[in-house]
Amino acid sequence: MSTATKTRREAKEDPRPVKRAGHRVRAQRREAIVLVIPALLPILIFSVIPLVSGVALGFTDATLARNAEINFIGLGNFIELFGDHRFWGSFGIGIVWAGAVALLTLIAAMGLALLLNSDLRLKGLTRVLALIPWAMPPVVIAIVWRMIYNPNSGPLNGVLESFGIPGVNWLGDFSTALPAVIVVGVWAGIPQTTVLLLAGMQSISAEQHEAAAVDGAGAFRRFWHITLPGLRPIIFAVTALDFIWQFNSFGLIYVLTEGGPGGRTMIPPLFTYLEAFRNREIGYASAMGDVLVIAILLILSLYLVNQFRQTKEARS
């Protein structure tokens, strides 16, 4: 769009002297700057400066000691981090957690969105109900689920035991802790994804479905050949965002397990938090933060490049 307006303006201004046109453009630019500054300042002060200083801390030996001397140590932290097997172990857990939550959320939310999109009775009520987990803060969700998972008095084990199945120590057992936490992550993530998918489904025209139905396509084939291709950009965006959010999530797991048992749910943000606020090595912790950002960017760029290539192929 911007290129279109530019060419039109160029066409209009072409006969005029070049000097005057340059002057007008400059004046416009100045006006734009004045309008942008008020919006830019808060971003600069509250986002960019803290972000840059956080990144910079990663190259120092800063600690939280009183009047601590901060020295620039170059890549020292990163070299140390490279050999830190506990950090990379936690990184692996983070990938499993974020990947599993993003994928399972997508599948569950797709089902829910299809259900809400079909013409059922009480549609308005069910759509509101589906949003409830979204309205709850992560800490509250975590506390509620900790009660549900409680090995002695939780309703989950109560139901299992009434069927004669022995109860499971969900959050305390080494094999069930991570899956149990992932279930909570999915439950908390469903509404957001559902709403976005639902919006996408409603933008797909009903005529296409009708035409396909007339041609004899069943519900599954219509979903596969009409709904899914139509939703593709949304699915891609939502999954990518979910992955980033979950990889960086903190409150949910902190309240549920605090990274336990035995470090089995120690996702990278928790690990970084411990390094910063238990071990008081904020320089080293900032280096971890830098590495996490780069890692996420790398993973996502692989995904992005792949997606762009596919859409290009589809178009050509």
Binding site: N67, R86, P151, N152, F174, G262
Partner: protein, 431 residues
């Protein structure tokens, strides 16, 4: 164009000024600015979270405020959970209160970071001689006393007397009880779906470090950053015994090992476990919360091969080095720690007071309560543990020891692997 630049400059300057005043507010020393007249207000962050103890602390502070118009103390109530993280942000942000309540092993890292005032010259001479050298030693760093030690916790075994009787076990009545006795009683009382012992070991390190002293397991040798670690048979004796009880005898309820102490109390009240190991302070909670007719007793202190010894890791009251009123804060603490006051706090919390006069006071207050006899008896075996002198202990505890013990208690690793994780982790951290 000039005007625009000027506008931009003004906007930037305004924002910077705003940001700077924001910082300034943060870095004033914990709201201890003088109020009306010359009255000084001290902020006192108290962690005592049991209702009776809160009441006791409030009574003492009210008494002080009534007698001292020029130095007023304001209680800031906080809880034990997450205090370390809270304090570190408060100190780093310059908003820490004047008087800080915590415990010796965790306050050590704040002392080494230079946030705590040296109180050596302010401590009342009578109080100084009333508390044993060993306890003072636990709050001394590089020759500076950085806290007043107040009350001490020991680990005690509480038992459901009815269940013991039903299993034909006599309630032990000696001065101490060996670990073998505990193991036998636990085996005898494990019947049907019930277990002999419930032990909340979700955060196992403090318990393990303390009880290891009963087998002469000190873990650390040396002080400060020089300390070295040794995890041998003495250090592993207690975890191995718990492991044997849980997985060979099957007399410890396995779920309880992943729960907190207070979660396990529910199973104890419900008769699902016959005994439970808890901090002595739980005696106050059990007396208050146990269902009507619940027949409970406190068993004698646990004795290992080296005696009934546990770690003396007192609760502490320290003063923020950046406080404008270090002297006034210390004066208040001298008052706060006098025999009568300390006794009322210790009694409400079911903890052992550090000073002899407070201890005598508690003995008379609790003369007719049998559980208290055992609480005070367990206080005789409290010794200053080597880990209090180790600078990076808190770090090692949270990032190395706790996950390692959790894995061992869940039967995921062997005791050799536990030993290796504990010592290798220390080498990693201490560099």
């Amino acid at each position: 164009m000039k005007r625009i630049r000027g506008f931009g400059a003004v906007a930037v300057a305004g924002a910077v000024a705003l940001a700077l005043t924001g910082c300034q507010q943060g870095s004033s020393s914990g709201g201890s600015e003088s109020g009306e007249g010359d009255a000084v207000t001290l902020q006192f962050q108290s962690l005592s979270d049991q209702p009776a103890t809160q009441e006791a602390v409030k009574t003492i502070v009210d008494k002080w405020n009534a007698d001292n118009d020029d130095v007023q103390v304001e209680i800031v109530q906080a809880g034990w959970d997450g205090t370390y993280d809270k304090l570190i942000t408060q100190f780093a942000g310059g908003t820490a209160p004047d008087i800080i309540h915590y415990e010796a092993s965790s306050i050590a890292s704040f002392a080494s970071d230079g946030y705590l005032a040296d109180l050596t010259d302010y401590i009342d001479a009578d109080l100084k001689s009333d508390i044993s050298e060993g306890v003072w030693d636990s709050v001394t760093r590089d020759g500076e006393i950085i806290a007043y030690p107040s009350t001490l916790q020991s680990y005690m075994v509480f038992a459901n007397a009815d269940l013991l009787e039903a299993a034909g076990v006599e309630v032990p009545s000696g001065d101490t009880m060996t670990w073998e006795e505990l193991q036998e009683i636990a085996k005898a009382t494990t019947t049907g779906g019930n277990y002999g012992l419930g032990w909340g070991l979700a955060s196992p390190t403090a318990t393990m470090m303390s009880l290891a002293l009963g087998y002469d397991g000190g873990f650390f040798d040396g002080e400060g950053t020089e300390a070295s670690i040794e995890v041998g048979d003495a250090e592993l004796a207690v975890p191995e015994l718990i492991h044997e009880m849980a997985y060979t005898d099957k007399s410890i309820e396995p779920t309880s090992l992943t729960q907190s102490g207070s979660d396990v109390l529910a199973s104890f009240y419900g008769g699902k476990v016959a005994m439970t190991v808890q901090g002595s302070y739980q005696a106050a909670n059990i007396a208050k919360d146990a269902p009507e007719g619940f027949n409970w007793v406190a068993l004698p202190p646990l004795e290992g091969s080296a005696g009934a010894i546990q770690a003396a890791n007192p609760q502490t009251y320290s003063v923020n080095i950046d406080s404008e009123h270090v002297e006034e804060s210390a004066e208040f603490l001298n008052f706060f720690m006098n025999g009568e006051n300390l006794a009322s706090i210790a009694y409400a919390d079911a903890l052992i007071p550090s000073s002899d006069s407070a201890r005598a006071e508690v003995e008379t207050m609790a003369a007719d309560e049998p559980a208290w006899t055992q609480v005070l008896a367990s206080g005789n075996g409290l010794e200053g543990p080597p880990f209090l002198k180790v600078e990076k202990y808190a770090e090692w505890k949270d990032t190395v020891a706790t996950p390692a013990y959790q894995q061992y208690l869940a039967d995921q690793i062997t005791s050799e692997e536990l030993s290796a994780q504990l010592s290798d982790g220390w080498t990693d951290i201490n560099g």
